[in-house]
C-alpha cells in the first residue's frame, strides 16, 4: 500500500462525486443549511488547494485538483456569491472562512475582500462569540484574504485545548477535532510547519501515536485522517512505524471507489458485502477529502531530498524515541 494510492483513489471518488459538492438553490436561502452547502464546497476547495501545492504541475493529480478548483470557483460564480452572502448575513464569519480557502488557491474577488474589510473593522466582528479554535480560524481567514487580522495568534492559541498542553489521556473526539484544526490554522493547512511552536510540536510528537492508534481502533477514520494530516504538518514527522501502521489501516478502510467512511458505523450499515460505492455522500465526503489532504501532505513531507519543508529552529537532538525534551 502506498500513501499515494490512497490519495489517488480518494480523489477519484471526489471527482466522480463532484456534483454533490455543487451549490444548490438553498445555498443562499434565508434558512439555508450551511453545513450541507457551503461547508462541503469550502472543504473541497481547501483540500484541492493543498493537494495542488503538494504536487508538481505535470502530475495528473495536480491537473485533477486544478479542474476541481475551477469547478468549485464556478459554483461561487467566480466569487460573486460571497458578496451576496455578505448582504444576507454581514456579520457571519463563515463566508470569509470559506472564501479564504479559495484565496489560498489564488482565486480571489477584490470586491468581496474590500467589503469584508469594512465589516471586519467593527468591534462587533472582533467580539463575535465563538470557540477558541474557530477564533483562530477566523484570524487565519482574515490573513489569507488580505485583511488585517483582528487580533494576535498567540493569545488565541492559548485559549484552545491544544494550546494549553492538556493531559493527553483527556483526549476525546471533540478535543481531537479542535486540536487538528488548531494545527491546520497555525500551519496554513500544512503549508508552513514552522507555524507550530516548538513546545506544541514536541507535545504532538509525543501523543499523536496513542491518539491515532485508539481512533483507528474505534474506526474513527475521519478524525484519524485529520490526525495524519497533523502528523505531516509538523516540523519533524513522527516515527515511520507509527505512520506506516496508521496508513495501512486507513487504506484497509477504503471502498472500491476510493471513499473512506467517516466512522465504522457506516461500514456496519454497508454490510458484509458492500458494493464499490456503498456510502452516502454525507457519510464519507469529509473523511475522503481528509484522506486525500493527509496523503498529499505526507507524500510531500516524506519526499526525497529536495524536502519542501524546513524544521523550526530548535535545540537538542532527537533521541530516537518520542520528542526531545
Amino acid at each position: 500500500m502506498s500513501v499515494r494510492a490512497v490519495e489517488e483513489a480518494a480523489l477519484d471518488w471526489v471527482w466522480a462525486h463532484r456534483d454533490d459538492f455543487a451549490l444548490g438553490d438553498d445555498a443562499l436561502a434565508a434558512d439555508g443549511q450551511v453545513n450541507r452547502t457551503w461547508k462541503p464546497l469550502g472543504e473541497l476547495t481547501q483540500v484541492c488547494a493543498s493537494v495542488s501545492r503538494c504536487t508538481p504541475p505535470g502530475d495528473p493529480l495536480h491537473t485533477r485538483v486544478s479542474e476541481l478548483l475551477d469547478f468549485a470557483w464556478r459554483q461561487t460564480r467566480q466569487g460573486e456569491l460571497f458578496l451576496l452572502m455578505q448582504s444576507l448575513e454581514p456579520f457571519a464569519t463563515y463566508p470569509l472562512e470559506v472564501y479564504a480557502a479559495f484565496a489560498s488557491a489564488g482565486l480571489r474577488h477584490p470586491g468581496y475582500e474590500a467589503s469584508a474589510a469594512v465589516v471586519a473593522r467593527t468591534r462587533g466582528w472582533r467580539l463575535t462569540e465563538q470557540y477558541p479554535t474557530r477564533r483562530l480560524g477566523v484570524l487565519e481567514a482574515e490573513r489569507r484574504s488580505g485583511l488585517q487580522p483582528h487580533g494576535a495568534v498567540p493569545p488565541a492559541l492559548d485559549r484552545t485545548w491544544l494550546g494549553g498542553l492538556p493531559e493527553p489521556w483527556t483526549f476525546e473526539r471533540a478535543a481531537g477535532y479542535a486540536l487538528t484544526h488548531v494545527v491546520f490554522h497555525l500551519t496554513d493547512w500544512g503549508r508552513d510547519p514552522r507555524g507550530v511552536p516548538a513546545d506544541l510540536a514536541d507535545y504532538l510528537l509525543h501523543w499523536l501515536p496513542p491518539w491515532l492508534d485508539t481512533c483507528l481502533d474505534a474506526r474513527m477514520y475521519d478524525l484519524s485522517c485529520e490526525l495524519l494530516a497533523v502528523a505531516a504538518s509538523l516540523p519533524r514527522p513522527p516515527e515511520p512505524a507509527v505512520l506506516a501502521d496508521a496508513w495501512q489501516r486507513v487504506a484497509a478502510a477504503r471502498s472500491g471507489s476510493g471513499a473512506i467512511p467517516e466512522e465504522g458505523a457506516a461500514q456496519d450499515a454497508a454490510g458484509p458485502d458492500p458494493g464499490p460505492d456503498p456510502y452516502a455522500f454525507t457519510d464519507c465526503y469529509h473523511s475522503t477529502l481528509m484522506a486525500a489532504f493527509a496523503a498529499a501532505l505526507t507524500t510531500a513531507a516524506t519526499a526525497p531530498p529536495a524536502a519542501v519543508r524546513h524544521a523550526a529552529p530548535r535545540t537538542g537532538q532527537h533521541a530516537g524515541q518520542g520528542a526531545p525534551r
Binding site: W169, P209, Q321
Partner: protein
C-alpha cells in the same frame, strides 16, 4: 460447568488476595490485612493458583513496607513457586513472573531450603521486547508490573528505563481504551522512570484511573504500589 465454576472460584480468590494486599499496603501492616491464603476458605490448589496470578505482588507489602511476611502466607507462596516452575516453552511473561516470585522470596523470607535453595535463578533475557511496538511493550510491562520496584535491576527494568515515552504512550492508550488494569500497571512503571514527558500529567492520571477503575482490587493494588514506591528503597 465444573471448569467454569473453578475458574470463577480462582478469579474470586485472585480478587480477594489482591484486596488483602491493598489493605496491607494501605494500613502498613499485613496483620490487619485479610487472610485469603491462610483462612482456609480457598482450597490449597486454588490458593496456589491465585498466588501465581498475582505473582510477586502477593509479597508486595513485605517488599515495600519492610515487615516480614506472615508465615502461613509465605508457606503458600513458597509452594506456589516450587510447584509450578515454568515449562521450557512458557511465554516470556510467565518465565519472568516466576523469576520475580523467586526474587521476592529471597528478599523477604528467611534463607531458602529445599528445591529453591540453589543459587539465584538465572535471569531470563528480555530479547522478546527488542523492537517491540510501544503498544506491545506497555502491555507486557503491565503484565510484569511486579517487576516495577524501586531499585530493581533486571533486563526488563532496563528495557523500561530506555523507553519512558513509549510507556507513557501506552498509559494514554490504556486510559483511552478504559483498560484500567493496564493503565494502572503502566502508571506504576512510569513512577519509576526518568524522562516521562511532563505533559502526561501522571499524578492526575493515576487519580483518574483510581476514580474510574479503582474498585477493582487488582487496579487498586497497582495504584497503591505507585503511591508508595517513590518513598521506598528496597533491601
Amino acid at each position: 460447568m465444573e471448569q467454569s465454576s473453578t475458574s470463577a472460584l480462582l478469579q474470586g480468590t485472585v480478587l480477594d488476595l489482591a484486596s488483602d494486599v491493598v489493605s496491607a499496603l494501605r494500613s502498613g501492616d499485613h496483620v490487619r490485612a485479610g487472610s485469603t491464603l491462610t483462612g482456609g476458605g480457598a482450597g490449597e490448589g486454588v490458593a496456589r493458583a491465585a498466588v501465581r496470578v498475582l505473582g510477586a505482588d502477593t509479597l508486595l507489602p513485605s517488599l515495600l513496607l519492610g515487615v516480614p511476611p506472615e508465615p502461613g502466607q509465605l508457606a503458600v507462596f513458597k509452594d506456589a513457586v516450587a510447584a509450578h516452575p515454568p515449562r521450557a516453552d512458557a511465554a516470556p511473561t510467565v518465565v519472568w513472573s516466576h523469576w520475580a516470585m523467586t526474587r521476592a522470596l529471597r528478599r523477604t523470607g528467611p534463607p531458602l531450603d529445599g528445591p529453591l535453595a540453589g543459587g539465584p535463578g538465572a535471569e531470563p533475557d528480555a530479547r522478546w521486547l527488542d523492537g517491540a511496538s510501544w503498544q506491545f511493550l506497555t502491555h507486557q510491562l503491565a503484565v510484569l508490573a511486579p517487576l516495577a520496584l524501586p531499585g530493581e535491576e533486571c533486563a526488563v527494568t532496563r528495557v523500561a528505563r530506555g523507553r519512558p515515552v513509549d510507556v507513557a504512550r501506552g498509559f494514554v492508550r490504556a486510559v483511552r481504551r478504559r483498560d484500567w488494569q493496564q493503565a494502572a500497571g503502566a502508571g506504576r512503571w512510569l513512577t519509576l522512570l526518568d524522562g516521562v514527558p511532563d505533559t502526561l500529567g501522571l499524578e492526575a492520571g493515576l487519580d483518574f484511573v483510581r476514580l474510574m477503575g479503582g474498585s477493582d482490587p487488582r487496579v487498586a493494588l497497582q495504584l497503591e504500589a505507585a503511591r508508595l514506591m517513590p518513598a521506598v528503597v528496597l533491601r
